[in-house]
Symmetry: C2
C-alpha cells in the first residue's frame, strides 16, 4: 500500500492555498513526478483554473500536475500517473463525476500498485468507505454514496464545534452523533482545519496542531483521539 495523505482543508487563515500542507505533500509524493489531479469537486469555477491554482501552490516541488478532466480518458490519466491528487469542493459533485468517468476503480488500482494519494476536504471524504460524513450539500445525486475505501474509517473534514450563536440547526457534533447512532459499526474521525492524517507502511499518524476527535458508540458526542488511536483506526 502506498502513502496516503488526507488533509482536512486546503487553506489556513492568512496563508496561501495549500501552504500549510506543502511539506507534508512533498514528503508524501517522494520521487513521484507525474500527478493526476482530479478537479471534479469544483462547481462554481473552471477545472482548468483549479489545476492552475494547484500548480501554482505546489510550484517548486518539481511535479507535473495534469488535470484528468482535460483528457478523453480520465481513468487512463490516473493509470499512467505516479501519484493521484483529489481536491476539495463539493463532495457529491466529485463523487458523481468520479463514477461517470470510471475513476473509482482506476484510483483504487493505482494506489494498490503504490501511487501516493493526496486528498483535501472532499478529496479526503472520497478516500473513505463512503461520503456519508461530508459536510457538503447533496447538490447532485451520485449513483451511490460509496467511495474509494482507501482507509477503513470515516473522516469528517473541516471538523469544528463552532456554531452560529442562536442558530437552531444541528451542530456538527449533533450531526456526527446521528451518524454514529445510525452506523454504530463505523467510527468517524473529525479532523480540525490545519490537520491531516498520514498513512504509510502500515503506520498512521496525525499531522498538524489541532486535536482530532473520535466519534463512536462509546463516545457519540466525540472524544479527543488518544495517542496511537489514529493508527488503530486507520490501519486494519
Amino acid at each position: 500500500m502506498s502513502t496516503l495523505l488526507l488533509l482536512s482543508n486546503s487553506t489556513s487563515p492568512g496563508r496561501p492555498y495549500l501552504a500549510h500542507a506543502r511539506d507534508w505533500i512533498a514528503e508524501a509524493v517522494g520521487d513521484a513526478r507525474r500527478v493526476a489531479f482530479v478537479p471534479y469537486a469544483a462547481v462554481t469555477f473552471a477545472y482548468d483554473d483549479y489545476v492552475a491554482r494547484v500548480r501554482e501552490a505546489l510550484d517548486g516541488l518539481r511535479l507535473e500536475i495534469v488535470g484528468v478532466h482535460a483528457s478523453a480518458d480520465p481513468a487512463g490519466v490516473v493509470a499512467g500517473a505516479d501519484a493521484v491528487f483529489v481536491g476539495g469542493g463539493n463532495t457529491f459533485h466529485l463523487l458523481r463525476e468520479a463514477y461517470r468517468h470510471g475513476l473509482l476503480d482506476a484510483i483504487r488500482q493505482r494506489v494498490a500498485d503504490g501511487a501516493p494519494y493526496v486528498g483535501w476536504s472532499a478529496g479526503s471524504n472520497l478516500a473513505c468507505p463512503s461520503v456519508r460524513t461530508t459536510n457538503d450539500m447533496p447538490i447532485v445525486e451520485p449513483p451511490s454514496l460509496d467511495a474509494l475505501g482507501l482507509v477503513p474509517v470515516q473522516i469528517n473534514p473541516h471538523y469544528t464545534d463552532a456554531h452560529p450563536p442562536g442558530h437552531q440547526g444541528e451542530t456538527r457534533a449533533q450531526r456526527l452523533a446521528e451518524f454514529v447512532a445510525a452506523n454504530p459499526e463505523s467510527p468517524v474521525v473529525g479532523l480540525p482545519e490545519g490537520t491531516a492524517v498520514r498513512v504509510a507502511d502500515g503506520r498512521a499518524g496525525l499531522l498538524g496542531e489541532g486535536a482530532a476527535r473520535v466519534f463512536d458508540p462509546q463516545s457519540p458526542e466525540g472524544r479527543e483521539a488518544a495517542p496511537g488511536e489514529a493508527e488503530a483506526l486507520f490501519v486494519r
Copy 2:
C-alpha cells in the same frame, strides 16, 4: 390541492417546541382532527418520544396525533388520516424510511385528495422535488434523493448567512450557489428560522418576520424575495 404549511424550523429561541408556529398550524389544519405524524427524521431519540413531544406542543388544538411508526402499515395510517405532519431531524434518515414504508406515494395521494400537509425542517425538505437542498449530513443512503414534490421549488430550511469566524468550510450561501450552478433550472428559497411558506387555494405566501432569500442563475449569491415572488415560485 390542499393546504401546505412548510416551516423552516421547530423551535424559536426561548420559546417552547413549535410555539411560534402553533397558530399557523391551527389555521392550516382547519377541521382536520386525525393527524398522521411521520417521526422518521428522529435518529438519536425514540419515535414514541417524538410523538409525545408534538402532542404536548399542540395540546389544545383538539388533534388526534398518531405516529405512523407504531403501525404495521404506516402508509395505511396516512391514507386514513385527515392531515399529515412530518417532523424535523435528519432528512436522509426520514427519506430512507419514507421509501421503505411506501409513504411517498401514500402522502402524495392523501394530499392530492385534500389533506393538509405540515412539515418542519426535514419535513419541509421532504415536500420539495428532491432533498438536495438539505443542510443535513447524509448519514444513511436512501434509494433516491427524489422526494414528494408537493411544491415545484426547493426549500433550504434554517437558512442563515452566519458562519463561524475563521472557519474555512463553505458558507450556506456558497453551498446554495453551488446548487444553482449545478441545477440552473431549479431555484431555491432559503427560509430563515422563524419563517414558513403557506400554499393553499392556488395562492402562496410567506409567514414570519425574516426575509426569505431566492437563489437562482440570476442571483446565485441570493437576493431577498420580492413581494409576490413566493407565489410565482410555489404555485405553478
